[in-house]
Symmetry: C2
Subunit: 362 residues, 2 copies
Amino acid sequence: MLHAVVMAGGSGTRFWPESRRNRPKQLLPITGGQAMLAETIARLDPLVPLERTWVVTNAQQVQGVRRVCPRLPVQNILVEPVGRNTAPCVGLAAAVIAEADCDAVIVVLPADHVISPVDEFQRALRAAVMAADQPGRFVTFGIPPTWPAIGYGYIRRAARTAVYEGLDCFHVAGFTEKPQAPRAQQFIDSGEYLWNSGIFVWRARTILDAIQQHMPELHLGLARIAEKIGESGFQAELDRVYPGLPAVPVDVGIMEKVEGALVLSAPFRWSDVGSWKSLYDEVKHDEHGNAAIFPKGGTLLAEDARGILAYSSEPQILAVIGVDDLVVVRTADAVLVARRDRAEDVKLIVDRLKAAGREDAT
Amino acid sequence: MLHAVVMAGGSGTRFWPESRRNRPKQLLPITGGQAMLAETIARLDPLVPLERTWVVTNAQQVQGVRRVCPRLPVQNILVEPVGRNTAPCVGLAAAVIAEADCDAVIVVLPADHVISPVDEFQRALRAAVMAADQPGRFVTFGIPPTWPAIGYGYIRRAARTAVYEGLDCFHVAGFTEKPQAPRAQQFIDSGEYLWNSGIFVWRARTILDAIQQHMPELHLGLARIAEKIGESGFQAELDRVYPGLPAVPVDVGIMEKVEGALVLSAPFRWSDVGSWKSLYDEVKHDEHGNAAIFPKGGTLLAEDARGILAYSSEPQILAVIGVDDLVVVRTADAVLVARRDRAEDVKLIVDRLKAAGREDAT
């Protein structure tokens, strides 16, 4: 059976003032609909029902996860005592799922990515499940790059192995974390690279075997935790063991070491929306290039203004006069006005707030 | 005795979203301190005590006047049933004051101007009282112009009559309402013109006599109202008579016709702050040319941003990144972001709100 593991432990303030340390992007309706986590889960329907959907998060966010996913079974929320990167996260989820379903196939997804259209995503997921449904197969979704992004990881593809659902599936030649600009340009020019979406599909058994082989320390830790699955001491054991697990990305700890890593060329539009600027690129614009995101309603009035991203968490009027290419964000306690191509500098604002002892606003 | 008449009946939305039809500039702390009306009254202390301070307003604003001036005697608030420009307003106040104090000298001031420093204003007021304290003298404050403003009225000065408190006092040669740009430039170049501040000083008896001579219709109406002063039927008579009075500015109806019009060259800084743009020009800037107005507290965080006017009616954080010369305003239900030199186009926003049936927001 296909299970989904949604990784929802990230934190960050790149969407300040809407995102805060304890109110990260995945719990916010940044794209204008539901919270991104809820949208990620909804995108799996009907391929993965809620009872086979698992969310890995942390103690700070567990209430937020319950709030935005009220129908998710509570026991399907796994609570990391501390973030240890993605390999322990993936391993923990696989151990828990394998205990319930020894033939499980798992799709692992970040909670806070924008993907559309849904039917193309589901086509790719069906294709990936076909590709992964043999021992020793590790399938990742690669996104054909459209520009030399320096903020994404890249996957170099090797020979094509097969076509599933009309989608090309390749051997993986290697992974590269965020490259510098000239290298990113080379990647694009070569035509051999895909963006690393951070979405993986594998059998639970396959990933657990690979952890045993390539990350024995993680394997031992997970084995201790697994002994308590379904018992009252589970969370206590998790809290004891987890902090000592190796904090390694699954790409590095597993994918780069295994023989059977595959990359499926994904047919959907994808973004990890790392900033207000990239959110602007992902949402719909009117004929003046203005995008208005009002999760609870509201109005953008643009007077001789183009290229505006307007966002308000409350139903408000945002008026912009005579200026182009801005991000304008309003939340309960702050307003951000930034040149759109400088929106990533909200980190400087957050730094200044911290330095001023205003952690309440970060 | 010196009395003050503060004209607080204006309405307008040039400071939208902070000012609204029923929440005009004079009732708002636009300059960062108290409401402008309260600041105007405070600026008279100790020359005019509150019991000799009179506010002329209208039914829509009377509650607001009481709110921002809680110590003003309620009977000193005169409520126009409908605005009839300044001549009836001035005449009504003079009639009421003369009834209480037949030797009264009156200073008439708009409620919503910015004036500083206070001591120079008070020096000018003392000088004007000296100049006005003879029958037939009508003293106005003229502001030495600093640029060819097209939004102000101009007074052409004639021969100097005297010096009071070190300030030159001239005969008035004529009044000109808002001129077009070439004419305004000629005015500046001639050196003979002063801006019309709309502040007048005269004996109550002098202005009432002038109304009798030059505006007999107004005189008759005021006489009918005056018969009821101090009686329970006063407001009812005012409501009956006032709407029929001639709606004429006191400049036109009286000042241009009398022999004894004088203009005192004012030593203070003055602005009628007709827009967010002109407010920016009147308030203090930091070393980056940024001005932050937070009547209830708040923080402007400007990151590589200059020439910003930030205003919030609530204690908030306003962050601006990478863009210069903006007005950023936040109120309970709206945000305005405008290029500073386009801030007067808030009227276009207000028009659009009206057209969309959103009178609630205008």
